[in-house]
């Protein structure tokens, strides 16, 4: 049987600071350079303790007349000697030493939680489009950013009605651009923290794509509300659509930033977006209870040819007015009923 043993000096967090293989016994620990384990601790004697086997073959550490003594770490009691088993710790001066039996097996390796990017996944699966792999091309990114900017400028142009519409629309679109640059910048920094690259242009192009989708969605909502003002149809579509766009936005940025598997990204984005929508709904609910003298109505007016607009007759309008009256009669003072 070999007398190889391992002595580990631990730091303040009980992590191994240094590890010494001791090949023969007796071994000594102290500040002197002739010891088996040399310590820098000023509270340790030149030769502080000795490690050896007793006649029965038991391994012990023994105080060799030190000034500050030998302590068992468990109960912090000063001892003259201490039997050593695998994992036993003792303190000399201000240093904690742990005995490691080299024959003890080590635990199996942990399985790495974050797998490296799996190229086969990115290219396959029903939801692969979320990753917008084609944004890897620099030319595609530039095209997306330019076209999206032009699209937003055009949308802004249709919404301003003063004398210098192009300047106004450009100003609005540039403001939008600044917002997206900040947003993409935050994602780029997060990407750098995870995977040693920024991917700023890819984040920016992706953000523009989603922003365009949001603008289209907003217009769609207005048109739906214009065509079918009773609310039910528009409300049925708009919230789920907002949820889908939000999920795609977060999941896409996460995909660019990290190698997280798609399913986990989607679940994470779903939680984030769902939470955000819930907060918005909650605020809406709270504010719908507060008293106000404002009239909240669907005032959308769109340039649609009259023959395509679904309408009702005056008598149907009067019938709906009676339903409104019932709703108002149920309203409690101070806190309005559900809208």
């Amino acid at each position: 049987m070999s007398d190889r043993l391992i002595l580990e000096v631990l730091d303040g967090h009980a992590r191994v600071a240094s590890r010494t293989h001791v090949e023969e016994l007796p071994a000594t620990i102290g500040r002197g350079f002739d010891n088996s384990v040399v310590l820098d601790d000023p509270y340790v004697c030149p030769t502080h303790v000795r490690i050896d086997r007793t006649e029965t073959g038991e391994l012990v550490v023994e105080d060799v007349g030190s000034v500050n003594g030998l302590y068992a770490t468990g109960d912090n009691a000063r001892v003259t000697q201490l039997p050593l088993r695998h994992g036993t710790r003792f303190r000399i001066g201000r240093t904690v030493v742990r005995y490691h039996d080299p024959r003890e097996p080590v635990p199996p390796a942990l399985v790495e939680a974050v797998r490296p990017a799996a190229p086969p996944e990115a290219a396959s699966g029903r939801l692969a489009w979320i990753d917008c792999a084609w944004l890897a091309s620099g030319r595609a990114r530039a095209a997306v950013i330019v076209l999206s900017f032009l699209f937003i400028t055009a949308m802004d142009f249709t919404g301003v009605f003063d004398r210098s519409p192009i300047a106004r629309a450009l100003t609005l679109a540039l403001g939008f651009m600044v917002l997206l640059v900040v947003w993409a910048g935050i994602w780029a920094l997060a990407t750098r923290a995870v995977s040693q690259r920024f991917a700023f242009a890819r984040h920016l192009a992706f953000a523009w794509l989603i922003a365009v989708a949001f603008v289209i969605w907003g217009n769609l909502e207005q048109w739906m509300s214009f065509v079918a003002p009773s609310g039910s149809i528009a409300e049925l579509f708009t919230m789920p659509l907002a949820l889908v766009l939000g999920v795609v936005l977060i999941a896409g940025h996460l995909g660019i930033a990290s190698s997280m598997p798609r399913k986990r990204r989607l679940l994470t984005s779903l939680a984030v977006t769902g939470g955000a929508i819930a907060i918005v709904l909650l605020f809406g609910l709270v504010s719908s209870q507060e008293f106000t003298t404002k009239m909240d109505y669907e005032g959308q007016l769109k340039p649609m040819p009259a023959r395509f607009v679904p309408t009702e007759s005056l008598s149907e309008f009067a019938t709906d007015a009676r339903a409104l009256r019932i709703k108002v009669d149920k309203m409690k003072p101070d806190t309005a009923g559900a809208q």
Partner: protein, 449 residues
């Protein structure tokens, strides 16, 4: 012609607004007395002091007192009309007593500054009158009787302006207001806060009206005495008992008032006005005043705008927080030869969504608005119609209703209109809304898309 209308309208509108502000402030809340225009005061004729000394003892100061703190909440004037101590004043002087009798009471203050209780007997909220009773038997009192006076007749208004002591103001009778359904007398003379409820009398002591409101600049308003005669006939009749709840009485008076008022609006003979290619109802009744305004396209505005509004000087004071009984219509036409349909509709939508002035309201008096929007077709005219409704909390069956309608389907012209009805029954709101919508028409002068 147009300019004239505009100027007239401008004056009317601003005076209307001032009056509106005054309503909510309460005529009684003492304002600073320094703003009395000295020029408007004419030198009192020798008889003014005689009138004052003859009739001063019939006019009393009224305090509305918060009972728990005994603090003065309102100050007004009243006058005796019977040997049994009956007193006439404005409803708005004692509105707190009517609304919350547990918290407020009315006192009258005699010449020695001693307070005596007053009991509320009857109110006419629509005409802003109230009758109370003192326990005392006054030595002298006015006799309520209908009178006929001619324009220019000298009147003497008495009251307690700003709690400065009983005052007498000379002025002239200038006929009835033109733009009200319920008659009010135009009195040229300085009625000031605190004088509300006081009498305006002839030289020989006949009551012509009761001080009710002022517009400043020597323009005052009186409730004609005939209304007080009618109320006194009821309240002084043998066996008359004051109602247990004045709120209930006020509620039914408001319902009756709006029924009578609205029955006269938008009848078949209602005139129409043509704005651009649209024909719209205007001047719902002869006592409405209408005015127009226009903004031409300019260096920074690529569109034209015309507005056309009608309103009256009628309103009903309910409490310092709430007035009601107003009807207004407001047409707004936008046209542009420069904007394409998409950009024009961005403008049209923005203006329609911005709406008009919000209505005032207090959560103790009204609920929130709830609105319904529908695209409605009548004949060949297509409008987006919004009806917003809110309920009166204290008065069952009364609502504020706002109807907004925007004509759609035109390429680069748009007209929207707002009909505001405050303090109306739902049946009237529905009836007038549909009748109003039915009267909006596209005349076809502009091409329809």
């Amino acid at each position: 012609m147009f300019l004239r209308t505009h100027q007239f309208a401008h004056v009317s509108r601003s005076s209307f607004m001032r009056q509106f502000l005054r309503r909510s402030a309460g005529v009684l809340l003492a304002l600073t007395a320094t703003s009395l225009p000295a020029a408007a005061q004419s030198a009192p004729s020798p008889t003014t002091s005689q009138v004052f000394s003859r009739f001063a003892d019939r006019v009393i100061k009224i305090h509305v007192v918060e009972t728990s703190s005994s603090a003065k909440a309102e100050l007004g004037t009243g006058f005796f009309i019977s040997a049994d101590g009956h007193v006439v004043t404005n409803y708005h002087v004692i509105s707190k007593v009517a609304n919350d009798p547990a918290r407020y009471r009315a006192d009258w203050i005699d010449a020695t500054a001693t307070a005596h209780p007053l009991h509320l007997l009857a109110v006419d909220v629509a005409r802003d009158l109230a009758i109370l009773k003192a326990d005392a038997h006054p030595a002298a009192f006015f006799t309520l009787a209908p009178v006929t006076v001619t324009q220019g007749t000298r009147l003497y208004s008495m009251g307690h302006p700003n709690d400065l002591g009983l005052s007498i103001v000379e002025g002239t009778y200038n006929g009835l207001l033109k733009y009200t359904l319920y008659p009010k007398i135009h009195f040229s003379g300085d009625i000031n806060p605190g004088m509300s409820g006081g009498p305006a009398i002839t030289q020989d002591g006949r009551i012509v009206g009761i001080n009710v409101a002022t517009e400043g600049d020597g323009i005052g308003f009186l409730v004609p005495v005939a209304n007080a005669v009618a109320l006194a006939e009821r309240a002084l009749a043998p066996g008359y008992e004051p109602p247990k709840s004045f709120l209930t009485v006020i509620g039914s008076q408001l319902l009756a008032y709006q029924d009578e008022y609205l029955a006269r609006l938008f009848t078949d003979s209602t005139p129409t006005v043509t704005l651009g290619s649209y024909r719209l109802p205007t001047q719902p009744a002869p006592f409405f005043k209408c005015w127009a305004d226009a903004t031409r396209h300019s260096a920074d505005r690529p569109y034209d705008f015309i507005s056309h509004r009608c309103s009256t000087d009628d309103y009903v004071f309910l409490s310092p927080d709430q007035s009601t009984g107003t009807v207004e219509i407001d047409h707004r036409l936008y046209t542009s030869s420069e904007l394409g349909p998409v950009r024009f509709y961005a403008l049209y939508q923005a203006r329609f969504q911005a709406g008009s002035d919000d209505m005032d309201g207090d959560p103790n008096d009204v609920t929130r608005f709830a609105c319904e929007t529908r695209n409605v077709r009548h004949d060949s005219t297509l409008v987006r119609a919004v009806l917003c409704l809110r309920r009166y909390v204290k008065f069952a069956g009364l609502y504020d209703a706002v109807l907004k309608a925007a004509v759609i389907g035109q390429r680069n012209s748009g007209l929207f209109t707002t009909l505001t009805l405050s303090g109306v029954s739902f049946e009237n709101a529905e009836r007038l809304s549909t009748r109003y919508l039915a009267q909006i028409a596209v005349t076809g002068a502009a091409p329809s898309r």
